[in-house]
């Protein structure tokens, strides 16, 4: 099957009629963000399966749910009132000897600037032209859908219409997964189920025939009946256990979906939670340091008003003290004479300073007496002496102020450095948070996100999952036990009936049982072989990719029992912590393998249409992955983000991918998409043919 062309008219970001031509081999479509790349991918999905991915709701929606939003804004703007605007996507493809032209159309009628009428849902039409005869047949709506289903099986659609961002869904192997659905189609399980149904019925009928026909030996007949009943009961038990096993597996699958979702959610926010914790820590530290700073400042208050405010007065104090000393030396400051001492001298009638007698009435006595009331002089002298002590004391203290201030400033600087440090660290963490935070979550939402609740949710879902796993193990054990018992009883029965007189009935029953057993195992064997084939193919592709890159290694393991796909080493041990390049290569290999095996069953080569298949890879790995995809698929249409204008070292550089386009002769077609238009209403995709 080769897709030749897609025509996109007034669909999402595409205004007017836009045509992309394709050929066998690869086509690369590149463009910056929001240039219409994913919308081209949507166009394929819409025309084939009436679905487009709505970014806001993060889900696929049909035309009915999209409504008028599926029509290009500029086309709607230009549409006159009362008139119709039409959206259409058509693909032209070849398959075997036929040419197919499939179109999906949708209309809107403009009632007024804000009101649109949708006359009907989207319509599908298909024209099949036989290349040899030139005869055409037309199909519409349901019939066209039926035809398309046989050409593009919906269960395989997630593989040939590959969206890189939903890779985790495609890699999941649970019972609801795309993989299981694809396998269901490929392994023709319904046919085998039907065959099993018939063989069971016939075996049952023939067994009844054999048992109902009385054997000539009564004891034998009785024994036969008993054993048969025991076997019946065991089969019933086994059937019950099987049902229980299936139900429990279903519940486990549901639990796994919840667990995966919680896991993803937690992981998304865990990193944010750690960063927020750091931010909180740095913020607290910053606050504490600020408080410390303030307390250091406040603690100086006493010093300020006791001493520091006298800073600079050294000169004044020195002058005073010098003045005092000079006056003392010049005896302008007499020694204070204590009143009590004077009284003593008067009592003793003797001068105790020069030891001259001073009898009452003498000049010496009168001299002593003259000082007795000179309290003011005493007080003044006392004050002056006190002042000198105070000045002396303060002089010492004032001299130290400079060094004390230095110590204070050193301490403040230290704290300021610390404050600045925490502020910087907090700012860096805030920057980091911006890059890690999910784009659809605001800062406030993140801050109020209940991480504990997320963690609890994760733990609970993990416990549930473990509980089911344990239960499944138990049921499996019990089943094995019953199977063993059944086997033993069956052996006993088979041995017994060898002596039956009803030979024909017995032989018919035995043959029917054998056939029933073989057919019963058939599907399992067939499915196992299918999975092995897929694994083998996946390894071929994986090996191709790892050959070119020493950072990639291992083999692919499709573990259907445990519902996982992973890589293993040479000793079959699962590789842990594989790098991103390895992961994406594994994904591509797996998808390619499924398509490759499907090709055989469907006897066609499905085209591989991929939207952002390698967004998680960096630089050189991207190029290798693109080159491998080009090689693997018969036809591939690969839609890539063009990192032309970024400085991001991990981006696929402009020159790398454009070089590839120009130099690789296998790439016959290439397009670049750009967005034109000033306002949101006018914006539309412009296509530039690069090759």
């Amino acid at each position: 099957m080769i897709i030749r062309r897609i025509e996109v008219e007034n669909f999402l970001s595409y205004y007017g009629k836009n045509i992309f031509e394709f050929d066998v081999g690869p086509t690369l479509v590149i463009g910056q963000n929001n240039t219409g790349k994913s919308k081209l991918f949507d166009a394929f999905n819409w025309v084939l399966f009436d679905r487009s991915f709505k970014t806001e709701g993060e889900k696929w929606e049909c035309t009915k749910d999209w409504g008028k939003d599926i029509v290009n804004n500029l086309a709607k703007k230009e549409c006159k009132i009362g008139e119709t605007v039409e959206t259409a996507v058509s693909i032209l493809f070849n398959n075997e000897d036929n040419k197919y032209y499939l179109t999906r159309e949708f209309q809107l009628i403009k009632n007024n600037e804000k009101n649109w009428e949708i006359p009907r849902n989207s319509e599908l039409s298909l024209t099949i032209t036989e290349s040899v005869t030139g005869n055409s047949n037309n199909y519409y709506d349901k019939e066209a859908e039926e035809q398309i289903k046989t050409l593009f099986p919906e269960n395989l659609s997630k593989y040939f219409l590959f969206q890189g961002e939903s890779i985790s869904q495609i890699m999941s192997l649970n019972s609801r997964s795309a993989f299981t659905k694809a396998l269901t189609d490929l392994s023709r399980i319904e046919v085998f189920e039907n065959a099993k149904k018939y063989t069971e019925k016939v075996a049952k009928a023939l067994k009844k025939e054999f048992e109902d026909k009385e054997d000539s030996d009564k004891a034998f007949q009785a024994r036969k009946r008993d054993l048969s009943k025991t076997i019946q009961d065991l089969k019933k038990d086994l059937s019950d256990q099987n049902d229980l096993f299936d139900n429990t597996c279903n519940e486990r699958d549901i639990a796994k979906i919840v667990f995966d979702k919680n896991s993803e959610e937690l992981k998304k926010y865990e990193e944010c939670a750690l960063i927020l914790k750091d931010i909180e820590y740095f913020d607290n530290q910053w606050k504490q340091k600020n408080e410390l700073r303030q307390s250091v400042v406040d603690a100086q208050k006493k010093e300020i008003f006791d001493r520091w405010m006298y800073a600079g007065t050294e000169g004044i104090l020195k002058n005073f003290l010098d003045f005092y000393k000079k006056n003392k030396i010049d005896k302008k400051i007499p020694e204070p004479i204590r009143q009590e001492f004077l009284k003593e001298m008067l009592e003793e009638k003797k001068c105790k300073v020069c030891f001259t007698p001073a009898p009452i009435g003498s000049d010496e006595y009168k001299n002593i007496q003259s000082h007795i009331n000179d309290k003011s002089l005493d007080k003044e002298i006392e004050l002056i002496n006190q002042l000198s002590l105070v000045a002396d004391n303060m002089q010492d203290k004032v001299e130290n102020i400079s060094s004390e201030l230095q110590k204070y400033y050193a301490r403040i600087d230290e704290i300021d450095t610390s404050i600045k440090g925490f502020m910087n660290k907090k700012r860096l963490k805030e920057e980091e948070l911006k890059t890690v935070k999910p784009s659809d979550v605001s800062d406030d939402e993140l801050k109020t996100k209940d991480f504990a609740h997320l963690q609890r949710g994760y733990e609970e879902s993990k416990n549930d999952l473990d509980k089911f796993k344990l239960l499944i193990d138990r049921i499996t054990g019990k089943r094995e036990y019953i199977k063993q018992q059944l086997e033993d009883k069956q052996k006993e029965y088979d041995s017994l009936i060898e002596d039956s007189s009803n030979v024909v009935e017995r032989d018919k029953y035995i043959l029917a049982e054998k056939i029933n057993k073989s057919v019963g195992q058939f599907h399992t064997v067939f499915l196992t072989k299918l999975i092995n084939d897929i694994e083998k193919e996946a390894n071929t592709y994986f090996h191709k990719m790892t050959e070119k890159n020493v950072a990639l290694s291992g083999k692919v393991k499709v573990d259907y029992e445990n519902q996982e796909v992973y890589t293993i080493d040479e000793t079959d041990i699962r590789l842990q912590n594989i790098n991103q390049a390895n992961k994406v290569s594994l994904q591509i290999a797996f998808v390619a393998a499924i398509l490759s095996v499907s090709n055989k069953f469907w006897n066609t080569y499905f085209p591989f249409i991929a939207d952002a298949p390698i967004s998680a890879l960096g630089g050189n790995n991207k190029l290798t992955a693109v080159e491998t995809m080009i090689e693997i698929f018969n036809q591939s249409i690969i839609i890539l983000k063009d990192d032309a204008v970024t400085d991001d070292p991990d981006a696929l550089r402009n020159d790398m991918i454009r070089n590839l386009i120009q130099m690789d002769n296998n790439i016959r077609n290439s397009f670049e998409l750009k967005m034109e238009g000033e306002t949101l209403d006018e914006q539309h995709t412009k296509i530039i043919k690069l090759k």
Partner: protein, 146 residues
């Protein structure tokens, strides 16, 4: 000796513009944020500036309700003010005249407050908290060094 109970005169202008701004909780600040815990401390600070810069200034209009008495000025600040007055006059004689002594201290404080007021006019953040007081002290020391 200055009578302990005697009131210390301040200029009305400075009472309204400097004392109230830097000392009182009526400014709306929390108690711990007020730069000068008491008015007499501002008085002393002003006096120190007045004596250091040798810029006494007569009180133009005495505030009718003097805010504090001499005895509220705690030691050793009382003595240090007297020391500075003696040094400025280069004589102990001022001690004999308590009125003159008190006046000397008051006019020097008034002159110092003028300097404070001018500085606040140039820089609204000057004297607005403890840290800015420390900064003033550092400035004084830097000037002394040069």
């Amino acid at each position: 000796m200055i009578e302990p109970t005697v009131f210390i005169n301040v200029d009305t202008f400075h009472y309204e513009n400097t004392y109230k701004r830097l000392c009182q909780s009526e400014t709306g600040k929390l108690k711990k944020e007020i730069t000068f815990p008491t008015m007499w401390e501002l008085f002393v600070w002003g006096a120190i500036l007045g004596y250091l810069n040798k810029c006494p200034k007569e009180i133009e209009k005495r505030y009718h309700n003097p805010p504090f008495r001499w005895q509220w000025v705690k030691d050793p600040h009382q003595k240090l003010l007297i020391i500075m007055a003696i040094e400025a006059n280069n004589s102990f004689d001022i001690l004999k005249n308590p009125e003159e002594l008190k006046k000397n201290i008051e006019i020097h404080s008034n002159g110092g407050l003028d300097l404070i007021h001018k500085e606040m006019a140039l820089d609204p953040l000057a004297y607005h908290n403890t840290e800015s007081l420390i900064y003033e002290i550092q400035k004084r020391l830097n000037l002394n060094m040069t």
